[in-house]
């Protein structure tokens, strides 16, 4: 474990040095992050221009939810998104061999080798929005609230990673598509809003099959003090199950990987 942490730090350092070559990008990235979250808030404003509840959530509640969403999205863009096209490229060209022969776990390497640390700005902005939403609501979360929030947030990260990894692993078969990440984005967009907003079978799917509801709604609800231990535990359990599935799927894909002839 300690070894992998060291390797991760080394990845981070390498990418950091690489990014420092392009220091002028900082301003652009800062602007785009602020722009992104500003637009998201504006969208919420437009909805609340016509109503005062969204799926049973007030304006401040939805802001907290949006903060959680933005934070998680920041993590995805930081650690996961940059690696997707690279894996496709490796599989297509057969250069995955070089990675598989390295003395590190292949799944770990392909999912974290490239990091775009500018996107950590989104994480910070998301956290800021959470605080602002709570202030707007005049709600001070208790220590237990925060603890449950941290647990559910960690489960969400693991869940996201697993779903993302499963999608990425399909690249062993569908190598013609340049970028699969928009499939994930389509699904993840549904997590932007309260789950109570969806009806019928869509809601069932988003709760149990593709747990968008769990990913953003649970952490937001925990911070707002509306958690219960059972659902938090289920979220944790779900995360472990999905991680296991992703791992199995990766192993399965590797078995069918035949490498490109050289």
């Amino acid at each position: 474990m300690g070894r992998y942490w060291r390797i991760f730090r080394e990845f981070f350092r390498a990418c950091f040095v690489e990014e420092l070559e392009y220091r002028s990008e900082f301003l652009g990235n800062l602007v785009s992050s602020f722009f992104g979250i500003g637009i998201a808030i504006l969208t919420i404003h437009i909805f609340f221009y016509q109503t005062d509840r969204l799926g049973g959530w007030t304006y401040a509640d939805v802001l907290v939810l949006l903060g959680v969403f933005n934070t998680l999205k920041g993590w995805i863009d930081f650690a996961l998104r940059p690696n997707m096209p690279r894996l496709l490229e490796h599989v297509r060209r057969g250069t995955l061999d070089y990675i598989l022969t390295k003395p590190v776990d292949g799944m770990f390497y392909v999912s974290f080798r490239h990091l775009v640390f500018w996107r950590l700005i989104d994480v910070a902005l998301g956290l800021g929005l959470i605080v602002y939403g709570l202030a707007e609501k005049h709600y001070m979360p208790s220590l237990v609230d925060i603890l449950v929030f941290l647990i559910t947030m960690a489960s969400s990260l693991v869940l996201i990673y697993s779903l993302w990894m499963m999608l990425m692993t399909t690249s062993f078969w569908v190598i013609r598509i340049d970028d699969l990440s928009f499939i994930f984005d389509s699904f993840f967009e549904t997590a932007r809003f309260p789950i109570g907003m969806y009806r019928g079978w869509v809601r069932v799917i988003l709760t149990y099959v593709l747990p968008a509801a769990v990913i953003t709604n649970m952490p937001a609800l925990s911070l707002l003090g509306k958690w219960n231990m059972a659902t938090a535990l289920i979220a944790g359990l779900l995360a472990v199950v999905f991680l296991w599935l992703a791992r199995r799927f990766w192993r399965f894909a590797l078995r069918s990987y035949t490498s490109a002839s050289s």
């Binding site: 652009g28 785009s32 722009f35 637009i39 504006l42 969208t43 437009i46 909805f47 221009y49 016509q50 109503t51 969204l54 799926g55 569908v174 013609r176 598509i177 340049d178 928009f182 499939i183 389509s186 699904f187 967009e189 549904t190 932007r192 809003f193 907003m197 969806y198 009806r199 869509v202």
Partner: protein
Amino acid sequence: MVRKYAALLRMKYMEMLAYRLATIVWMTGAITQPLITMAVWINIDPSQSDAFFFYFMAVIFVERMTSAWDVWELDREIREGTFSNYIIRPLHPIHWAIAENVVYKLLFLVILIPMWAGAALFVPALRVEISMSQLLLFLAAVLMGALLRFLLSYTCGLLGFWITKVAAIYSVLEVISLFLSGRIAPLSMLPPLLQQWSIFLPFRYMIGFPIDLISQAANGHEVRQGFMIASVWAVIFIMMLQWIWKAGLKKNQAVGG
């Protein structure tokens, strides 16, 4: 010119068939955002469910018919230097892009119209009762929308001669258009200030305006005014495109070999 276009269209058609899976995935990719937005609006005002359903289905249709991807292509080609292959040919590179647009959008049309008709048999909310002339007006508006989006996207792409981040600039425009084109909400649901802006900016005419025509939300005066403003924008875009193209060629230093 006709023969050249016939050849171009055939070539692009072959290309599309070669990437069937990618085409299909790509075609279905853009539908979640409108569907989610629709869920939000139906949640806000359940009594208008049918109207919202019709509106956002129309958004998906018009969005597909007018979508423009040229900026990403140009951005990549100019940066990697492969754009030079097109510059040295005796035909303006824009014709390749136009042929590609025609082929893909005809395919979308051929697939989407029967889907809509089939769905309308079962879902009354999707049925439209309009006269032939209104239908023609709608199609003209869609064509106008496609033209505007294509011109904007191509012009932005040509900026790649000067800057490397044109895709980012275009995304900003796309996000602005999200609000002002009617994708986040029917324009009548927006705050009055944004509504006013949307009339004079080009974005509304890319998506919202055709939908207003087919749902008969616009009266005769608004229709004339709409087409006029859209045409003015089309002329502005064409002039910008020509100017940037000329200036860009002078600036161009083919990257790579």
